[in-house]
């Protein structure tokens, strides 16, 4: 008897058996290997450590060197995975659907127009509840022609139902890719995860990083169990993507059940993301704010909101402003999807004005996407505070400390007059 895959609401189970983490590993942590490399190589090392069974990729700037590093690692035997060089991104993700349904841990990376070409299977991935991990090496949208960084790609697909994490540093790229598998494969989540790292500044920026020990990562990740709920398995025949009956057959309730289960999985992810980051800090000694980072908000009356790699220069600008006696702090969003409402509200409640710096455009609102997210979160805050939109870093444009000092000054102006309804374009005068 065929069964319909149980994807409506995966049951939350406590970590046990093969997913059981040992909690005292930090005491015996090995000396990490040090590398000096760029973000794309760091991401590829994160993939190596996560031991996927299958990787499918199609190269696209600025993701290309990441695809090349992974392919090289497979060719050199550093990564024991099957590598599929598909003819395009639509096939890349379709291949991984089959692999995940057959029980494989899977990885891919794309961006920009590649993500656009991938959209049809991309749309289906979270609805199939497949815990695929995919890097988006964020690239701005065309037209006009552009092969450079920007977050328009990820922002455009933020309602598709993937978990979306955004990294600030090269080290965080590596660490987050490994953590992403624990989040994706958690039985209460079972959703694909995008690990976003900014094209150019993170993908090609070179710094010193530490490579965690493989055995310790193995212990952290456990054995993949990705198709317990939906499988292409002759021993467990089931319909994995049934045609729902509209208003007939099983009625709308079946479809609603899928959607509601998906939303519940997303909400569960908020808890799991926090737990996984906490365990990562305990085991590997590196602590990242899992949802929303609060930087120097104590005593701040206004703050910048940032996302991705821009936070480094922005924090330098905040430090400089603090030196001058300005009461400013910073809020960095790491998890954009599911949106961490409570963590964001807690941060926003500490200040009286915010300026949100986006690396993408929300055409429909004449502002930035993260600005829109912040406005929505403000609904749950104690007070409705002014919230300015600033847009910068499009198409590889640099966002320097000077840009953020201007962003801080523009935000401070909110105390003196009405909040503009149009965005501040931070690179508008840059030649």
């Amino acid at each position: 008897m065929n069964e319909v895959a149980e994807m409506t609401a995966p049951v939350a189970e406590p970590a046990s058996g093969r997913n059981a983490p040992a909690c005292d590993a930090a005491v015996t942590r090995k000396e990490p290997k040090v590398l000096v490399c760029d973000g794309n190589e760091a991401a590829a090392w994160g993939v190596v450590l996560s031991r996927p069974d299958m990787v499918a990729v199609y190269p696209i700037t600025p993701q290309s060197s990441l695809a090349e590093y992974v392919a090289q690692f497979v060719a050199d035997g550093v990564l024991d995975a099957e590598l599929v060089e598909a003819e395009g991104e639509h096939s890349v993700l379709s291949v991984l659907h089959g692999a995940a349904l057959a029980g494989a841990r899977t990885y891919t990376a794309s961006c920009g127009q590649g993500l656009a070409f991938m959209f049809e299977p991309y749309f289906r991935t979270p609805n199939l509840r497949l815990p695929i991990v995919m890097s988006i090496v964020n690239r701005d949208g065309i037209t006009p022609q552009c092969v450079w960084g920007g977050q328009q790609d990820a922002m455009t697909v933020r309602e598709v139902g993937w978990v979306q994490l955004f990294c600030e540093t090269v080290q965080e790229v590596l660490d987050t890719i490994v953590m992403a598998y624990r989040i994706a494969e958690d039985r209460s989540v079972m959703l694909p995860v995008n690990v976003n790292h900014d094209g150019n500044y993170l993908s090609n920026g070179i710094v010193r990083i530490e490579l965690p020990d493989q055995a310790e990562v193995d212990d952290f990740l456990g054995t993949p169990d990705v198709n317990w709920h939906a499988a292409l398995d002759p021993d467990r025949p089931m319909g994995v993507d049934p045609l729902t009956g509209g208003a007939t057959g099983p009625g709308p309730a079946l479809f609603v059940g899928y959607r509601r289960g998906h939303c519940e999985g997303m909400q569960n992810a908020l808890r799991v993301i926090v737990e996984v980051h906490e365990e990562w800090a305990r085991r590997f000694g590196r602590r990242y704010a899992p949802l929303v980072e609060e930087y120097r908000l104590d005593g701040a009356d206004h703050a910048l909101v940032t996302i991705g790699s821009m936070a480094g220069a922005a924090k330098d600008a905040v430090d400089a402003a603090r030196e001058r006696g300005e009461r400013v702090g910073l809020i960095r969003i790491k998890t954009l999807r599911p949106f961490p409402v409570d963590a964001m509200v807690a941060a926003l409640d500490k200040v009286q004005a915010v300026g949100v710096v986006d690396r993408a455009v929300s055409y429909g609102w004449n502002s930035g996407p993260v600005h829109q997210e912040t406005l929505a979160a403000l609904q749950y805050c104690r007070h409705r505070i002014p919230c300015l939109s600033l847009i910068g870093g499009l198409a590889g444009a640099d966002l320097t400390q000077a840009h953020f000092e201007r962003a801080i000054a523009e935000t401070a102006k909110l105390f003196d007059g009405p909040c503009p309804r149009t965005p501040v374009w931070l690179n508008a005068e840059d030649r």
């Binding site: 040090v34 000096v36 760029d38 450079w148 960084g149 540093t169 150019n200 500044y201 993170l202 090609n204 920026g205 070179i206 710094v207 010193r208 790699s309 936070a311 480094g312 220069a313 924090k315 330098d316 590889g396 640099d398 966002l399 320097t400 400390q401």
Partner: protein
């Protein structure tokens, strides 16, 4: 903090040179951020790479606008690119050139000129004008910021497209040995 901007042309290995220098500086205990300039990736087109080194950790992943040192690994590039843009007063130029350092026109911000016939050395070593590792030797000689030993070890960790490790070691050593460093004397205004 010490900021370096490397100028070259696509295919000469400018970005790779920044990566090798980053490895060497990290091995000597420095914190480093190296970011390539993002532009058209074509053989022969002007390219640049930025490198920031410090005793303290750095957070900003940004380009460099006011370098302490400019390394130009192509002899004809100064005719088409303003390689001195933003150079700090008292700055250093490390230039691939057959000219004597006194014969190179530099703005007032330049206090030290180092020249190396990198094309000549590269032709001798590789049979082709690939000057990146030659000019790393010149940089070490001119600035003293990084040791030749650390650069040699960094070469060992690098995969090269256009030459072997032994060739690049020799290029580095010759670049270091044959660089002439000149301190610019400026008369104070009366």
């Amino acid at each position: 903090m010490f900021e370096v901007r490397l100028h070259g042309r696509g295919g000469q290995g400018t970005v790779l040179a920044a990566g090798i220098l980053a490895k060497a500086l990290v091995a000597e205990g420095k914190h480093v951020v190296a970011v390539p300039q993002f532009g058209f990736e074509r053989r022969g087109a002007p390219v640049a790479a930025y490198l920031r080194a410090s005793e303290l950790p750095m957070r900003a992943m940004t380009n460099i606008y006011a370098p302490d040192c400019v390394v130009c690994i192509d002899s004809s590039l100064p005719r088409v690119v303003d390689i001195f843009s933003g150079l700090r007063d008292g700055g250093t130029l490390v230039q691939a050139s057959r000219l004597a350092p006194q014969d190179i026109a530099v703005p007032a911000s330049v206090a030290t000129v180092a020249v190396c016939d990198a094309v000549g050395i590269a032709r001798e070593v590789f049979g082709r004008p690939i000057t990146n590792t030659v000019m790393l030797g010149a940089f070490a000689r001119a600035t003293g910021l990084v040791s030749l030993e650390a650069l040699e070890r960094a070469l060992e960790e690098t995969s090269f497209r256009d030459g072997g490790l032994a060739q690049n070691r020799r290029a580095l050593a010759l670049g270091h040995a044959r660089t002439v460093v000149h301190r610019v004397e400026r008369r104070e205004a009366a």
